[in-house]
């Protein structure tokens, strides 16, 4: 499913948190959103999920305006994993993932064997099947993060919006998560802080002060000049001799030997 955003914006406290963002993510594409802290990545993802009141501009799914869909229909198409979501309820890991079935169920269509199978599959996909019975309060940060992702998978969305899905995860789970989402037959938009992970996306968008500062394939977007300007870091491009992949190495701008 294709998701397009036109002149989207959101204001809070008299300030434009996100302004004039226009972009289109194609069916099956893995799209990375990068930008410094507070640049509006999370807000843009919430806008794309239709969660913000008084949003400016328009979000369309396959050309249909999101506002005409209703919450339930939206949730069947779009799943969002927020940066942080906690509960004080004594839920188990499995309970948390079962919540993902909510938009597909009603009082007349209760949770059934098909839903159970989808939940099992989602738990297995993030490597949490063996901990399905564990209490939420006893889980580590990374385990909770993986369950949030499993919950989004159990929602069976056509578009997956992930807000920093790899933070809290150990390196093995970071890589397996990125592999998982890039292989899913769904459109993925994810906010990332690790620019090397962003390198693996099909395209990336750079947010700066609420605006989309650049958009395109990672190699074109992540130039040393732009990294210096937006992220205030120096960057060197390196090549991995094993597979010719491009890597970025960062250093503080202040530490650069002054040239000239």
């Amino acid at each position: 499913m294709r998701i397009s955003v036109a002149q989207a914006g959101w204001r809070a406290g008299g300030r434009a948190i996100v302004a004039d963002v226009t972009l289109e993510v194609a069916e099956g594409e893995t799209f990375g959103l990068i930008g410094p802290n507070g640049s509006g990545k999370s807000t843009l993802l919430r806008l794309m999920a239709g969660l913000l009141p008084r949003a400016e501009g328009e979000v369309r799914l396959d050309g249909l305006p999101l506002t005409g869909l209703g919450r339930r229909e939206t949730a069947r198409r779009v799943a969002l994993v927020e940066q942080q979501a906690e509960t004080a309820e004594a839920l188990t890991a499995r309970d948390a993932v079962e919540l993902g079935r909510t938009p597909w169920l009603s009082a007349l269509a209760p949770f059934g064997p098909a839903d159970r199978a989808i939940v099992d599959e989602a738990l297995a996909a993030v490597g949490m099947a063996h901990m399905a019975g564990a209490r939420w309060s006893t889980l580590s940060g990374g385990e909770r993060q993986r369950l949030h992702i499993a919950r989004a998978l159990a929602q069976r969305p056509r578009i997956l919006l992930l807000d920093e899905p790899t933070n809290h995860l150990d390196i093995h789970h970071q890589l397996s998560l990125l592999r998982l989402v890039s292989r899913l037959p769904v459109t993925v938009v994810m906010a990332l802080h690790d620019l090397n992970q962003a390198m693996a996306c099909d395209r990336i968008g750079v947010m700066a002060e609420g605006r989309l500062a650049a958009l395109g394939p990672p190699r074109e977007v992540l130039t040393p000049e732009r990294l210096a300007q937006i992220f205030r870091v120096g960057a060197t491009r390196l090549q991995d001799p094993a597979d010719e992949a491009t890597l970025l190495r960062f250093h503080c701008l202040e530490d650069l030997p002054r040239s000239g």
């Binding site: 209703g70 949730a75 979501a85 906690e86 004080a88 309970d95 948390a96 919540l99 938009p103």
Partner: protein, 344 residues
Amino acid sequence: MTVAATFGPRPALWLGLLGAAALGLAILAGVVIGETPLPLPTVMATFANRIWDAGLAVDPIEAGIVWNYRLPRTLVAAACGAGLALSGVVLQSLVRNALADPYLLGVSAGASTGAVAVAILGVGGGLVGLSAGAFGGALLAFALVALLARAAGGGSATLVLAGIAGSQLFNALTSFFIARSASAEQARGIMFWLLGNLSGVRWPDVTLALPAALAGLLLCLWHIRAMDAFSFGTQSAKALGVPVRRVQAVLIGITTLMTAVMVSLVGSIGFVGLVVPHAVRLVVGPRHGALVPWAALAGAIFLIAADVVSRMLIAGQVVPIGVVTALVGAPGFALILIRNRRRP
């Protein structure tokens, strides 16, 4: 040992039957036990006469006590207990605070003020008038508390603080109305009723309490998935496809209505909405599919028991039922506080 292992392949059916049987037994006990204990055969014969016109020989005075006093009183106790417990379940889920219940959030206090205003000022009058007054007061109290919490920066801890402020305000208003307009005798009657009292309950009260509790139960059952979805917050519920505003309006509306009806019938009874849901959660877990029916059942049985105790505690005197629920509820409340502190 799992539920399925104990009850075979259809646990829901067996558990449902078990619950219904427990409720039936509790109602029977509520009718049998009292200052004049009535033997079970008399009670059963009265039921048979009334329901099937069985024409069995029963002492007419005893039959009168069973049918006109004890049964309606026990049914109203069951309805109130279920309604208050469900109100607690709903509020705890929607505001994500373990301490939320109609009593602590000021809803009961608002309902009392509304009912007292109607009773003293005499506008409307009658059973429905009282309930309508209570409903108005309850809605007003909840709206004020919610606005205050919002103005104070939101968050669920603020809501409880605002609820305390709201309770104090509406209790003061109630006292003010009584001091201003009620005769000494009226005042005594109102104070007694405010503490929770089922002595005056007759059949017309049943026709108000039962439908309110049943409507509440059905609406809660209809929304079990939505209430589950609130576990990770309103944003997350919204992202899961729950029409948050509508669900909040419907569920808070029915909670306020149930509280108002119960307060106008039997006064304001604390701690049921707080302690019963937590006790039930310990046994059946936090998911609302199990929590809603079991909390309703446990609340009903708890209040029937509390009513029996209130009649039996001091011979020849009725202790207000609110006193009994508080005597059991306050220690329960303390346990909840301690458990909450232990949580990581």
